[in-house]
Amino acid sequence: MTATPRAEVHTPLPRPSSRLERFGRRQGWVVGVALLLAALILWRSSQIPAFGAFEVRGIVAGTMTLALLAMAQSVIVISGGIDLSVGAMMVLGNCIAARLMLDQDLGTVVGVAVLVVVVAMVLSGLIGTVIVVSGVPDIVVTLAASFTLAGLALVVLDGPGGGTNPRFQELLVGGFDQPGPAILWLAGVLLVVWLPFKRSRLGIATYAVGSDRSAAFLSGVRVGRTRIVAYVMGGFFSGLAGLVTTAFTGSGEPRASIGATATLTSVAAVVLGGVALMGGSGTLLGPVLAAFCLALIPPLMLGLGWDPNYAEVARGVIIIVVVMIGGLLQIPRRSR
């Protein structure tokens, strides 16, 4: 009884993981999606004799809306919510912009653009507030909100119409062979808006709230406020998506089905981009890359000479297969 065994034994510290392991664990999915995208782009470029600025611009500008909606959905999903009204918000933004921008000079048009984004942020923040205060599940509130927003869009613009300033179009989505502006805008939003947010205390709190609400509360996070902020951020991205639609099409289109389809595709991009629907993990880059993957499939199928309807079938299959492979890859890690 002289020496108790207690003091002699040391529970070993967990082995610290190397930088590479960690990078693989945390960014592996994004890298995977980026590789998938690279492969799809290579494939597409091999289908066309001259793959140049024109084609790149077509892809980037055409996918920008979806990429922005994927960002909107991602922020909200990361915070532990879901938003089925991002598409309707985009349509509403498009209609407001198209109506007010018609035949205006560039200064006014930029003013309107700011107004559209602010309106989207306020409305989305309102939706978030209703969810937090009322305790009604987010999926119900945002589904209901999507009807309201779609209705408002029709009030603003009762049919296809409106317009915008061509200079504004060029600034946002570039001319027919200028992929530059669209790429710059997307990269800019990610670098100037998202990165600083993600690294701020508010950004960390957003992840915390999505991962474990009670642990976040116990750490001193204001849970309700943080969740509302995520919806405001979502509104910002949805508003931008509305502007891009206006710039890309040059007009407004209040059809509700456009919004509904866009919402569902944004959820698909979020899932494919490695943002867990449970919340708390993932980045915005993954869903943006995933949005491009999804957008490349129809032209690829066209290049193969398939019926375009099969493109939709292929899209669904690809989402399931990719997510399934990702799940299989994560199994060894779980059993460790």
Binding site: M1, T4, P5, R6, A7, E8, V9, H10, T11, L13, P14, P16, S17, R22, R25, R26, R201, I204, A205, Y207, A208, G210, S211, D212, S214, A215, A216, F217, L218, S219, G220, V221, G280, S281
Partner: protein, 495 residues
């Protein structure tokens, strides 16, 4: 008399119709390590949450250094010098440790310093919380609380998930706090710890404080148990021990369950043991010696890397828990909610494994189902007030329910994985009695326990698992020191 550091007076709290605290007085003096004790559902956690600003009390006052305070958030409590370490680590899984610290506004350098003082400076704070093992998360949570240099450190069942050497470091900190004339409020179900390290204890029962005394005094343990159980305490203790003594040795027959050279992991030496009908085999091990996986293999949840399992002298290969259950081998896992259907009523929980037997297709004969369920509920004296949803039951009642499922369905070999973790003393004794009763009725039982005294209380034999192999078999009379020595893989001295 000096002024108490913390004085709670007539604190009450009700959640709807359920009264958690009726009227609790608690007084913690400076330089005192004060234990807060009580059965599950006595209101300990609620009191802690009120004292640390997570919940608001319905009535009553809390005073710090004689000054009444209103604590509306954990942050306000910290500003008043009350820092808690909760039962579940308040760390967000998907963030790195450093990010978690930023949320609370704590400088990682300070936490590193506290960790170094606990000899844990090798811990990498840039790991994501979900990649770190639970015991270290508790230590991190503790280090974070220490950074606030609190007047009163509140430790809610911190040692429940800690291996002995880490527990020792917690006790060292408690001692240090005491020396600095600061206080600790310590919650634990392990009476030995409370007796050794606490100067004072307050026992809660049914939402009231029923006794306060020095737990280390002569007969302290009995006094604690009596206070916790109140009326219910009569005649619960040591029934299991008597029963075991009265047990007749079974006649020579083939053991019910034989395990030969079972490889938990590829590199292990292999586990071998046998259990007969009517026998309770205790299994002791430190954290992480492969016990979790061993039980999962035995219950058909995971496949072994090699080796043999024989049930009634017949080799078996379980591919699915269904196979094991069909051979009468059933598991009660440590995580109760994993085994239960938390949103469903008691009745369905008990009947779920029954459905396999009752009916293959078509509607289920509810009359027969109800009868069997009622039998199980009565036998276990499960508190059925919250019958509509299993997750609303207290921990002890949930544990009874997980055992009760198998009572109704029938079994021949019962695997119990730490069945009393986090359960109050009264229910623990009910479970001990039940285990002996089941063994007497002819069940073979393998019981893993993290509380070594249970080996002496309920088991017929003890097998010690170390590094994926059984390193010693000891009689139930083995002292805790002997068990611990063997569990560390050290040579067991003559028994």
């Amino acid at each position: 008399m000096s002024q108490p550091l913390l004085q709670a007076t007539a604190v009450a709290k009700a959640f709807g119709p359920v009264v958690a605290l009726r009227a609790v007085d608690l007084s913690v003096a400076p330089g005192e390590v004060h234990a807060l004790l009580g059965a599950n559902g006595a209101g300990k956690s609620t009191l802690v949450k009120i004292l640390t600003g997570v919940l608001a009390g319905d009535s009553g006052t809390v005073a710090v250094n004689g000054e009444p305070v209103l604590l509306r958030s954990p942050t306000e409590a910290r500003e008043r010098g009350l820092a808690p370490v909760y039962q579940d680590p308040a760390l967000v899984r998907d963030l790195t440790v450093t990010q978690n610290l930023r949320l609370t506004g704590v400088d990682p350098a300070d936490v590193r310093r506290e960790l170094a003082a606990m000899d844990l400076d090798g811990l990498d704070l840039d790991e994501q919380v979900k990649d770190l093992p639970l015991p270290f998360l508790r230590m991190l949570d503790l280090a974070r609380a220490l950074v606030f240099d609190p007047q009163l450190l509140v430790l809610d069942e911190i040692t429940a998930a800690l291996p002995p050497d880490l527990s020792e470091r917690v006790f060292a900190i408690m001692g240090r706090w005491k020396q600095r004339n600061r206080s600790v409020l310590f919650i634990s179900h392990r009476l030995a710890e409370v007796r050794e390290h606490c100067d004072m204890c307050t026992v809660l029962r049914d939402g009231r404080n029923v006794a306060s005394f020095h737990p280390g005094q002569e007969g302290g343990e009995g006094q604690i148990v009596a206070a916790m159980l109140g009326e219910a305490s009569k005649g619960v203790r040591d029934v299991a021990r008597e029963r075991r003594a009265a047990r007749e040795r079974p006649e020579e027959e083939a053991p019910r369950l034989v395990v030969r050279d079972l490889l938990i992991d590829r590199q292990d030496a292999g586990v071998s043991f046998e259990v007969s009908a009517g026998e309770v085999l205790g299994m002791a091990a430190l954290e992480g010696q492969g016990q979790d996986r061993l039980f999962e293999i035995l219950s058909g949840n995971v496949r072994a890397a090699g080796g043999e399992i024989l049930v009634d002298a017949e080799p078996v290969r379980f591919r699915h828990p269904y196979d094991a259950i069909r051979r009468g081998v059933v598991l009660v896992p440590s995580n109760r909610l994993m085994a239960l259907l938390p949103q469903r009523p008691i009745r369905e929980n008990i009947a779920a494994p029954l459905f396999n037997r009752v009916r293959r297709w078509g509607p289920i004969n509810t009359g027969r189902e109800r009868r069997q369920v009622k039998e199980a509920v009565d036998r276990l004296s499960i508190d059925t007030r919250a019958a509509a949803q299993a997750r609303r039951l207290s921990g002890g009642n949930q544990q009874k329910l997980t055992i009760g499922r198998w009572l109704a369905a029938g079994f021949r070999t019962l695997l119990l994985f730490d069945p009393t973790r986090g359960i109050d003393v009264g229910t623990k004794h009910q479970i001990y009695d039940l285990v002996r009763e089941l063994a007497d009725a002819g069940a073979a039982i393998v019981l893993f326990t993290s509380e070594l005294r249970e080996i002496g209380l309920v088991c017929d034999r003890a097998a010690v698992l170390h590094n994926g192999a059984i390193v010693a078999e000891l009689p139930p009379t083995a002292s805790e020191t002997e068990l611990l020595t063997a569990a560390h893989g050290l040579e067991a001295t003559a028994v």
